[in-house]
Amino acid sequence: MLLGFLLRRGVITVVLLVGVTLVSFLLIQAVPGDTMSATLSEQALQDPEIVAAYRARWGLDEPLYVQYLVYMRNVLQGDLGVSQQTGRPVLDDLLTYVPATLEIALPAMLLSLVLGVAIGLYAAVKHDRAGDHAVRAGTLIGLSTPPFWLALVVLYVFFYLLGVSPSGGRLSTWIVPPERVTGSVVIDSALAGRWDAAWDAIQHTALPVLVLTVLTVAMLVRFVRSAMLEVLDADYVRAARAKGLPTSRVLTAHVLRAGLVPVITVSGLAFASMLSGTVLVEQIFSWPGVGQYAFRSASALDVPAVLGVSLFVAVVYTVVNLLVDLAYGLIDPRIRLS
């Protein structure tokens, strides 16, 4: 049964990934200025022989489906094309920038889950009372705030007005970066035993993590709240109360355990939305992550890089969702059966 579930989910994921590459490929085709006119000079474009040779060289004379298969082969070999901006393979660029993004996205995700569950449970317990209304208002405001604007406001307050935070980047300019081991400046500094550098790096992560957390918590709280409300209404919770269990025990042993199952599903979506948030937030904090890479590529109309990022994020997203589904299936056998 479990094996069948894994197999079914695996097949769906593979089909989805093939579709994702197809979308990326078709987007490249949709680009009005094609690569040929971008690469060849005006004069060369006039010469039909050169044009024919160029088309043959790059397989542009092949039918579209052959071109797609070639593109697929390249993608499978990790060849996402060359960024017009950096002049480096897009994959190399991604590998440089991903650890920086993870350095703010992972702590923010962890913080969001803890806060999201705590605040969501609080709101559910206080259902329709002042505390619940305050939480609902707060989450609505959080969801309505443009991420890049919130980042800017936070930077203005903590850096410009109060001067308690660095302006941006991963490390103060006067600190020599640690040798790259994991790609995380905090961890690499700690590994090198340079605690001052590690502390400086942590200070630099504080504001980006704060902004990402605020945005993700707002979403998670709303979900946790409604999941918990449903559980709080269940007969077995009433039974637990009726037999005289203390409230804290009812909440942790009965409500949280059952209510957390759907929260696992939404955490995959939350992670994806956080990745989207980094695109906008990293720009404000000069954070050299995937988001800023995507931003710079997009504003320079560096199409291979933009498509590389979208393909990469789609793959991450799909894989995270697969893992979430698998975890869900393991925890709740009913999912496997349906």
């Binding site: 994702v20 890049f148 800017l152 979506l269 989207s276 906008l280 504003s299 109309l301 997203y317």
Partner: protein
Amino acid sequence: MTEPRMSEPRTPDLDADRPEQAEAEQHTDARADRILARRRWPQRLRVAEIHSIWRQPAVIAAAAILAVWVLLALLAPVLTDDPIAQSPDLYQPPSAAHWFGTDELGRDVFARVVHGARLSLPLAVVIVAFSLAIGGLVGLLAGYLGRAADEILMRLTDLVFAFPQIILAMAVAAAFGPSTRNAVIALIIVSWPIYARVIRSAVLSIRTSDFLASSRLLGVGPWQALRKDVIPNSVGPAVVLATLELGNAVLMLAALSFLGLGPRPPAAEWGAMIAAGSRDLSIWWVSVFPGLAILTVVLAFNIVGDALRDRLDPRTARGVR
């Protein structure tokens, strides 16, 4: 399938010719009408419930905010200066002459924020209208036809869902080239799947409902059932989603233009204005006011959408993204 008997306009002389049958038909008609009347109760109840959202002070406040924004957008040319007129008064902080200060080209930030509504509000409506039309059609077909059509259409929406919205929108907008039109197209491309999912699930729940089965027993054909039962009863979830998505469209449009992929300068667009202000923290007024504009508009849409959902569609939580 039997012909949709109930809907056929009965010519009077036909009834006069065969009075017996007409009487018999009237008899069954009366009973059928009673049963068919019942299939519409959810709708009537819903209309009554829509009005009850006005009992919430937050909804009244949100509607007032939206009304003010619509008025500002309509009256912007009368109320304010030219939003793209440059002046030598660069970087002026807020004052009596310039309520929201001036930007790096000496343009009045208040005029630009107010004119921003003339871009964001209609464009959000366009994005939602097209996404609703495309997603609604896909969801309706998938839910109503079922089987292979459902499978194909829903896998197609899964495909778009595999990309985080802003990143796919960014890729599409960058591929087509930065312009207002392309930003709108990009946002429609990334927005329609959520409508398809929501409307499909609404259609599915109606298709399997008892009142649809009973109306089919009474000889209501599939086309009429679609028109009279399925579509009207999917309106609730669609309205809720469209309201929430109006706010989302404003946010996403601002995000795209913040990234330089929206309306081209010197257009007064909120996201682009925030981007301009982000280059220098000391001129906070250049980015704070357009940000507040986005926040108030999106918050108002979210409050109304939330209240509508509590009334119309308590089951579906919003697709969190």
